[in-house]
């Protein structure tokens, strides 16, 4: 699947007029009416079903309504600072469970800082701090008694530049996260195989597991890093520009992987590439100057955004 196959590309007039916007601190969070998507689904599946004679399929991944999503994480009034500089100015945003949420916006809008707040990586920078709530399964991960190391296990991260440990083999790179957490799996080889299968890298590296991870191509290195994150069995995977250093083929492989991973994981991806957001994300949030401007289903954001600033940014009419 590539572009959102938006059944609601042409949205019925009843849908938009009935849609109610819920305002979150100046943000447009578009909550469509329930039944909107099922109507769209029914419209499309009716065609295929009449041929196959099967029951209509369930709502597709890109047809989940903002109003009915189940949040795995949620931020409430999240503010982040570097020293005195406030880089996030009160972000309230749900992160849908087992869906892909893309965060887009121009450089300096706070999107990377936002995802780094989701697993308490932000505070690692000297002088950096955050206020507000970041809820993971209803628990605020910024509460005093929460261990940030434990949070980062549950909320893994993949960075812009593939960063396999240079002195380690491919095999050891997969296990590195576990070992750093003091774990010694009973059957490390099966963990390695399972994780490399999960990132669709196994067939390419199964005969060279002892070689250095840095000897792989950029795309393979990035998938290795994803395997390293997955070895810790996180529930949420944060991806900060995971394809910006990759060529189009390697990018397509990672995007295909994201499609696979969303069946098991909640994914948040920061990207400068709006077409990538359009391709991989179920939901898209647009940030500007530290504020969340608009959040909605990806197909809505890219066909009929509500906010002029979103429209200007995604169409290239910005500044």
């Amino acid at each position: 699947m590539s572009m959102p196959t938006s059944s609601s590309f042409f949205v019925k007039n009843t849908e938009l007029t009935a849609a109610e916007g819920r305002s979150l601190q100046g943000t447009t969070v578009n909550t469509g009416p329930q039944g909107t998507t099922s109507k769209a689904t029914g419209k499309r599946s009716a065609r295929s079903d009449s041929a196959s004679g099967e029951e209509p399929s369930k709502a597709r991944w890109d047809e989940v309504s903002v109003s009915t999503l189940v949040p795995k994480m949620r931020t409430e009034g999240l503010r982040a600072y570097f020293g005195q500089a406030e880089v996030l100015k009160g972000i309230s945003l749900p992160v849908a469970e087992k869906q892909v949420t893309a965060v887009i916006g121009p450089s300096g809008c706070g999107k990377s800082t936002f995802v780094r707040c989701l697993n308490r990586m932000h505070e690692v920078v000297p002088g950096a701090r955050a206020t507000g709530q970041v809820l993971l399964d209803a628990q605020d991960i910024y509460q005093a008694d929460v261990d940030p190391v434990r949070v980062r296990r549950r909320v893994g991260m993949v960075f812009q530049k593939p960063n396999p440990f240079p002195t380690m083999s491919i095999r050891d790179n997969v296990l590195a996260g576990l070992r750093l957490n003091g774990e010694r799996p009973d059957d490390p080889d099966s963990v390695v195989e399972k994780m490399l299968h999960r990132v669709a890298l196994w067939d390419e590296v199964k005969d060279i597991l002892g070689r250095a991870g840095t000897g792989l191509s950029g795309g393979q290195q990035q998938r290795l890093c994803i395997a390293r994150s997955l070895a810790l069995e996180p529930e949420v995977l944060l991806m900060d520009e995971p394809c910006s250093a990759l060529d189009p083929i390697a990018t397509a492989r990672v995007e295909e992987l994201i499609h696979e991973l969303r069946k098991s994981y909640t994914i948040v991806i920061v990207t400068h590439n709006m077409q990538q957001a359009a391709r991989v994300a179920n939901f898209t949030a647009f940030f500007y100057l530290g504020k969340l401007i608009e959040y909605d289903r990806t197909d809505v954001i890219f066909t009929r955004p509500k906010e002029q600033r979103t429209e200007d940014y995604i169409t290239g009419r910005f500044g």
């Binding site: 042409f10 949205v11 019925k12 007039n13 009843t14 849908e15 938009l16 007029t17 709006m274 077409q275 359009a278 890219f302 066909t303 009929r304 955004p305 979103t310 429209e311 200007d312 995604i314 169409t315 290239g316 009419r317 910005f318 500044g319």
Partner: protein, 229 residues
Amino acid sequence: MDRRHTDREYEGELENLRDHVLLMGARVEEMLSLAMRSYVERSVSLARSTMELDRNIDQLELEIDELALQILARRQPVASDLRFITTTLKLVTDLERIGDLGVNICERVTELGADRSENPHDQIARMADAAQAMVHDALDAFVAGDAVKANQVIDRDKTVDAYYAQLFPELLPRMMSDPGVVFESTRLLSIGKCLERLADHATNIAEMVVFMVKGQDVRHSGPGSHGYG
């Protein structure tokens, strides 16, 4: 679309596409006007020369499709730009068909020749005025991005439908009482049908303009939906 792209070349491509659509619209309007003049004046020569305009309209359709395809391939337009391009791609098909209907009207005029009976020519003239005004206003709404005006065009389709519905009952008794008017009457019915279809295409354009401006699909939605196109 009052805001300009950061990329001026992209902006230029969109404007070029828009200009082509406007040109095609102008050609179609001109053709309709001449076709109806040829009917009113019963001018076979004008009807024949008017039919030639269709070639130019068809050529513009091809050019617009090509421009739109280029923009889709190279720019990956989104949001209002995407709605504009998709609207354009659909709109030119309706414009081209309106041109074809203009040709059909001219063909009927050439069949009618210079003879004229007591048939209800006023009814045809009223229909033509209403349908042409719909095409004109639908294109105006497209240019101005005016969804209100587009919705008014959609509402007016039923007026033209009503004119057409009256045409046959008016012609039938005449045809029954005077076989001499049957030939002309069937041509008038055909012209009436062309005008009715033409109004449907104008309605389609207006519906697409609403989508382009507001992101709402109003096709097949109201009780007045013509269920076609």
